[in-house]
């Protein structure tokens, strides 16, 4: 069974087809890099996978379950454009809140552990509204990883991170892959993404222009996929 299966998905915004007959799959333990120009449909697809939006046609399955089923939601970690943490709460309060929402047995302990893993322990009690953009993004990463999801859906996860934080995130993603978790990640930072990816899917104007295993050429030249299959 595929960890993530997208079967003939269409999504319309009014009359405009943002996604056109998208078919994709990611095996358990795979890391699928979802690449494409702005407006290609990456975020739309990730939001459908996360259950935030219904496809107009077609179907998505996460380990065989619909993305809106409670058990499926427990298995998904989503990091979107918005960081989904509350400015009025502290970093510790935010993570403890989400640990409770995900029914973790020791919410505060889990929250403190992830603050440490993302290098935010010293600002644990600081309000998020006082954080820099990079710190907020690290907290968002911690929130997405907190409940040990088996599928990580990451939309531009390297945005706003400095070199050190990128290295931390790459370490977390490598650890997740080593634990057998599945990652679907949209990004424009091809070098970082292709280092981790086992598979690559190129979206172009809402359609899958390429979907297959990552090859050495892609790592050597991150622009290779665009040049070979995309719009150049």
């Amino acid at each position: 069974m595929s960890a993530v299966a997208v079967e003939g998905v269409w999504k319309f915004f009014g009359d405009y087809p943002a996604l056109r007959d998208v078919k994709l799959a990611a095996a358990p333990g795979a890391c699928l890099a979802l690449i494409g120009r702005n407006g290609a449909g990456k975020t739309t697809l990730l939001r459908i996978l996360a259950g935030f939006s219904r496809p107009g046609r077609g179907e998505v399955r996460i380990f065989g379950g619909g993305p809106r089923e409670t058990e499926t939601r427990r298995r998904i970690g989503f990091l979107g454009h918005g960081i989904s943490v509350y400015d009025e709460l502290s970093a510790l309060e935010n993570l403890t809140l989400f640990a409770r929402l995900y029914h973790l047995p020791e919410p505060e302990r889990a929250a403190r552990e992830w603050l440490e893993r993302t290098g935010l322990t010293r600002v644990a009690n600081g309000l998020v509204r006082e954080f820099s953009r990079g710190m907020r993004q690290r907290l968002a990463v911690a929130r997405a990883f907190l409940h040990e999801p088996s599928v990580l859906l990451l939309d531009e996860p390297f945005t706003a991170l400095d070199d050190k934080a990128i290295a931390v995130l790459q370490g977390l993603l490598r650890g997740a892959l080593a634990d057998g978790k599945t990652i679907v990640m949209s990004t424009h930072q091809l070098r970082e993404a292709l280092e981790l990816a086992s598979d690559v899917a190129l979206l172009s104007r809402g359609q899958v222009a390429f979907h297959g295993p990552r090859t050495p050429e892609m790592v050597a030249d991150p622009g290779y996929v665009y040049a070979r299959y995309g719009e150049g």
């Binding site: 996360a50 259950g51 935030f52 939006s53 219904r54 809106r68 409670t70 058990e71 939601r73 427990r74 998904i76 989503f78 979107g80 454009h81 918005g82 960081i83 989904s84 943490v85 509350y86 400015d87 009025e88 709460l89 309060e93 809140l97 989400f98 409770r100 929402l101 995900y102 029914h103 309000l127 907020r136 929130r143």
Partner: protein, 229 residues
């Protein structure tokens, strides 16, 4: 048990966030007090006879509460907009109805707090003996406030992504609230006059309870569609 825990976690989160900023409660309380003071000038409460004052008291009070409550209710889902926090809540494996009830309960607590502070001020400005039937008045306040908050919370979810939500929320909320507000006004007027809820006013109480039960049930059924489509 899990359901109650989910409901409680969402409620506490909303209340904690509100008490940090005090945006909604300060605005709502100030608005309620200003309305009550302005109405007291308009009706010249000092010169009105006690019977006449009692007759209009329920209407005045609930108009002030309904208007002031809107300011709290407007913030309910708007609070989730910065940083796409609503995505985080929707993604969590919690029941949507627990999410709705958690938010509704937090709103209920805030609106009721505004009402409890406004009530003595109302008594002072309008020379109304509001405490004479307090347990029954409290029951009416609780039932009426729940009606206002349950409709306001579902409407807040419905209008959260609309640019003119501050206008749309009261436009959608008040017409639906007419039966609840009518019942609460009638009951409050009688209680302010020192009368207990009896056979003649029991119908209004039943209508208020029925309104709360029906609209809470409808909201719980609709919340998934309202939030995600």
């Amino acid at each position: 048990m899990d359901y109650l825990r989910q409901f409680w976690v969402v409620s506490v989160k909303d209340l904690r966030a509100e008490f940090r900023t005090k945006e909604a409660i300060n605005a709502s309380l100030a608005f309620a007090l200003v309305i009550l003071v302005l109405f007291s000038f308009a009706f010249d409460a000092a010169d009105l006879e006690e019977a006449a004052m009692n007759e209009i008291s329920g209407g005045l009070l609930w108009i002030a509460f309904a208007f002031a409550g809107t300011l709290v209710l407007n913030r309910s889902f708007v609070r989730e907009l910065p940083n796409d926090c609503l995505d985080g809540l929707i993604a969590a494996p919690i029941s949507r109805s627990a999410l709705f009830l958690g938010k509704a309960f937090a709103n209920f607590a805030l609106v009721l707090a505004v009402e409890m502070i406004s009530l003595p001020v109302f008594g002072i400005f309008y020379h109304v003996r509001w405490a004479s039937q307090f347990p029954e008045l409290l029951l009416v306040l609780v039932l009426g406030t729940w009606g206002v908050t349950v409709i306001g919370t579902i409407t807040s979810a419905l209008t959260v992504n609309i640019k003119l939500r501050e206008v749309m929320l009261p436009m959608l909320t008040y017409p639906i609230l007419v039966p609840a507000l009518m019942s609460a006004m009638q009951l409050t007027t009688r209680l302010m006059a020192g009368e207990a809820i009896g056979a003649d006013t029991g119908m209004w109480l039943k209508m208020l309870i029925g309104f709360d039960v029906i609209y809470t049930s409808v909201s719980l059924i609709l919340i998934e569609v309202v939030l995600i489509g």
